[in-house]
Symmetry: C2
């Protein structure tokens, strides 16, 4: 049987647009003699639809669109497509997360997801009842075991969660195996995490090997707000060899015989380095944030530092230089090179910029606040005023010209609260908020790999917020190598302070860092959505009490 793996980029909630895109792809796949065309999890509504699933009319529209699709597709082509399904039982959650099989003008079956991820950014048990019964389908003489994303992740080790073995008590493929399937299909919506690419692939390789079955995994591609889906759909042979991996970070369609016994039809997998993947993921994240919300133009504050420079380079790649208009906003504490470096970079990329000094406005704020401040010494309050003036100027440009403000904060400073709410923490989307400072430098080097986009001086000078005379990040923060390592153990690995110290870090320093992270939850609650590239990003996937003690 010829199967087509259709890896598409959906817009969440755009049911009609998604249906048309699916239909067009079925027609394309049919030209390549595909008998079954497979689309990703919840393709009809895009993943994740979140609480739109709680609106009856939304789910009805999804179901209607799938039935319409069944009529629209050619009679001789079968389609497997993800979409929500109403639960017909009197008890339990209202929906199933289903794969719908369409053929001959109608819906001929649905397969329901059993394992509902409810951790990190996933909330599937919020909406869906788990499936508890399993059976194969027969299509064109082949017996197929249909699974939905997490259904094949039943063996996953419980990383960072004590030392337990398996998160789930049900094992869908094990339950279907006795019926003797000829192949396994997995429709997925599995978001990108730079360190998980190999782990992900191994899930499917091991399932194929264990059951001696070909496994076809179709992932979604594209970004929906903070979540980036890398695609990378797979055709894995029964020996566990990867016959084909679909494109990363772009739409792709692949048609193949389901019989993958001839080894190595296409075993080449692009050799993606971690930093280049992060780069491409962020570009896609920015691109889709704008394209899917109907915006074209962006702005940001170019400070002369590494974070805004890398953000600008990524934005230029995603949106085109002509859609960017940035501000350089020196104060009395800005160094000359900050302006010179920023101007150089804007000119290199051909990006429109204005230089607006904040000195006079800052002085006027201080004057206005004299009745409140009296003769108190300058402190963080004055530093924050400068940052908020810049935020106000950028938002003014944004409101007047329609350019969305990109936030330029990195994960290290977001973690320890080294940023000003409503100042440099403002923006519609945080591009680097899940990228540690050390990786921001690596991204800068990557961006400059074929020629200088980011001026060398921006990469090599010591980082500084320039909010008071001769300020350096190193005045108040440990070196970034140490800081980033401790943060990763605390945030991604969820180790305690004493467990981190046991890994060889100064206990006092660890306590100080952990405390900085904890007391700044209130700031992070109000940050823009952060493009997620790690296994634990700030935002919806990390839910820590703001008020509390621990």
């Amino acid at each position: 049987m010829k199967i087509a793996l259709a890896q598409l980029n959906y817009i969440v909630g755009d049911i009609e647009g998604n249906r048309k895109k699916i239909l067009q792809t079925v027609l394309d796949a049919r030209k390549q003699q595909a008998e079954l065309v497979v689309f990703s999890e919840l393709a009809i509504c895009g993943y994740p639809p979140l609480d739109l699933l709680e609106r009856g009319t939304f789910v009805e529209s999804c179901v209607d669109a799938i039935h319409l699709l069944a009529i629209e597709i050619p009679e001789d082509t079968a389609v497997l497509v993800g979409g929500p399904e109403f639960n017909e039982h009197e008890e339990g959650k209202l929906l199933f997360n289903s794969a719908w099989l369409l053929q001959g003008g109608k819906v001929i079956n649905t397969f329901r997801k059993s394992l509902l991820p409810t951790y990190d950014i996933f909330d599937e048990y919020r909406y869906f009842e788990p499936n508890r019964t399993f059976s194969l389908i027969e299509l064109n003489g082949k017996k197929i075991a249909v699974t939905i994303c997490e259904d094949l992740w039943d063996d996953q080790p419980m990383e960072n969660r004590f030392s337990r073995s398996r998160l789930y008590t049900r094992h869908p493929l094990e339950e279907m195996a006795p019926e003797g399937p000829d192949l396994v299909i997995n429709i997925a919506a599995s978001p990108f995490a730079a360190t998980r690419m190999e782990v992900k692939k191994q899930i499917f390789v091991e399932k194929a090997r264990k059951h001696h079955l070909p496994v076809f995994m179709v992932n979604q591609v594209g970004a929906n707000t903070e979540l980036i889906f890398e695609g990378g759909s797979l055709a894995v042979g029964p020996d566990g060899s990867i016959h084909h991996q679909l494109a990363l970070f772009e739409e792709d369609l692949y048609v193949t015989e389901t019989d993958l016994t001839s080894p190595g039809e296409d075993a080449k997998i692009p050799d993606w380095a971690r930093i280049s993947m992060i780069h491409d993921a962020l570009v896609l994240g920015v691109q889709d944030y704008f394209a899917k919300s109907g915006f074209k133009k962006a702005t940001l504050g170019l400070s002369g530092g590494i974070d805004s420079a890398v953000t600008l380079a990524i934005a230029a790649r995603a949106l085109g230089s002509k859609n960017l208009h940035v501000l350089l906003m020196p104060s009395q504490y800005s160094s000359d090179h900050s302006i010179a470096d920023s101007e150089q970079m804007a000119r290199t990329l051909g990006i429109k910029y204005d230089i607006l000094s904040i000195k006079d406005i800052f002085d006027l704020y201080r004057e206005a606040l004299q009745p409140v401040f009296g003769d108190r010494e300058e402190d963080l309050a004055e530093e924050n005023i400068q940052s908020r003036i810049r935020g106000t100027l950028l938002m003014a440009l944004s409101n007047k010209l329609g350019n969305i403000l990109l936030n330029t904060s990195n994960k290290s400073e977001t973690a320890v609260g080294y940023g000003t709410l409503y100042g440099d923490m403002a923006g519609g989307l945080s591009v680097l908020g899940d990228v540690y400072k050390i990786d921001v430098y690596a991204l800068a080097r990557f961006i400059n790999r074929d020629g200088e986009v980011i001026p060398e001086n921006i990469i090599t000078k010591p980082p500084s917020a320039e909010l008071r005379p001769d300020q350096k990040d190193s005045d108040s923060l440990p070196d970034y190598e140490t800081l980033d390592s401790v943060l990763e153990l605390y945030i991604e690995k969820q180790l305690s302070a004493s467990q981190i110290a046991a890994e060889g870090f100064d206990p006092q320093l660890v306590n100080r860092i952990v405390r900085m992270v904890n007391v700044n939850e209130y700031k992070r609650y109000q940050t823009p959505p952060i493009l997620r590239i790690s296994t634990k990003a700030f935002g919806v996937g990390r839910r820590i009490p703001i008020v509390g003690r621990y």
Copy 2:
């Protein structure tokens, strides 16, 4: 048997503080001859602990504290207390949400929660494995059915969720009933929603009546960030009569015989009106936000409008006038009465205030932005600059003097995006963000019930943002009666635009309002935590895609 219902206010994560408070209460209850003292759900760590539950060391500390408590309590007193428990099985989630029974110096049993609410603000399946086996305990000759919060909500109608009957497929009390319990205990952490007070009570009344058993429900009291728990613990007789309701919005301890057959021992229930409950809930919400984070002082911008006036009155009640320092920040568009009314209110309450004009700063921003704006006409950009200047001044006061900024936005304007990000949408906590404008007026009347706190003119004048000459809310918004009704149907009831129009509203107006709500998700993503007083507040309980179409 004598049972004590201990309704306490816990600090999330303060395991040692909570343990000491529990111990002290056991000693107090023992003086009243209590044989069993019952505490609320997850009392040892406070509810909701959120992702702290993913940290192994956190859960270990909870378990250790419960074992220590078992040793500390008197030998002749039994204690039932909520806390997380490690799942000893090889498969499944890592924890159970348990009630721990302590007696004679040790843990003698645990009872595990079966029904794990995973909707709205609840994410329990994120952390907990559901219990699937049931048994009673025998204590001092009584057989007790122990349940945990949602375990008794198995029959709840699926309000606003199509017309299905029951959310859960298991029914804990039904499964225990054949063993012949003498009483039912329910330990709970059930947050406040003004419209749900009667529904809640009925849950326990109906269970008591159906099984002819006394039901004892112990709720948590106090606020943890946005969630307010009202207490109101219950002793319900086997005939369904309420023998006693514990205090609302404060700690309370009640000792009674478990045999509630003598009718009407204390059937009086305070007659709480909806608005007075909302008022008291918000006061408690502000109080605990400050007390539990170690802050004392607050600030806000007093505009002369109803929202900031009501917020100030609530803050004064919660924190005391001496802990408030507010700013009056007139612009060229402010009316004289705005300042006069605000001064009058501050003087009435004895609150320190400063008047800082924003006119000169605003003019300087416009001058600075001339190179960017050119000769474009004034629009929303200029209005937002004024709002952001005020935000910057308030945050400057906050940073310099340590007063936390209270946000004064109401739910109606938050819903339709009638507010400025980083301007009037700034703050550490939103006091009125779950209160529709109509109810803000009702709160003002309630606050003035024994004398004028809020100047009458603030209540009666037409609402205006005063960001341009002669601006009125009614220029761009429908009247608040209509707006609030439509918003409630859309947000709380989750009806579609056409369903709302079918209730008798102008379809075009409904579409306009629904569209305003939808396009402003990005703003709400960045608002401060909002004190929750309804069944659907903006914030963690409402998860709508920012980027998408529907």
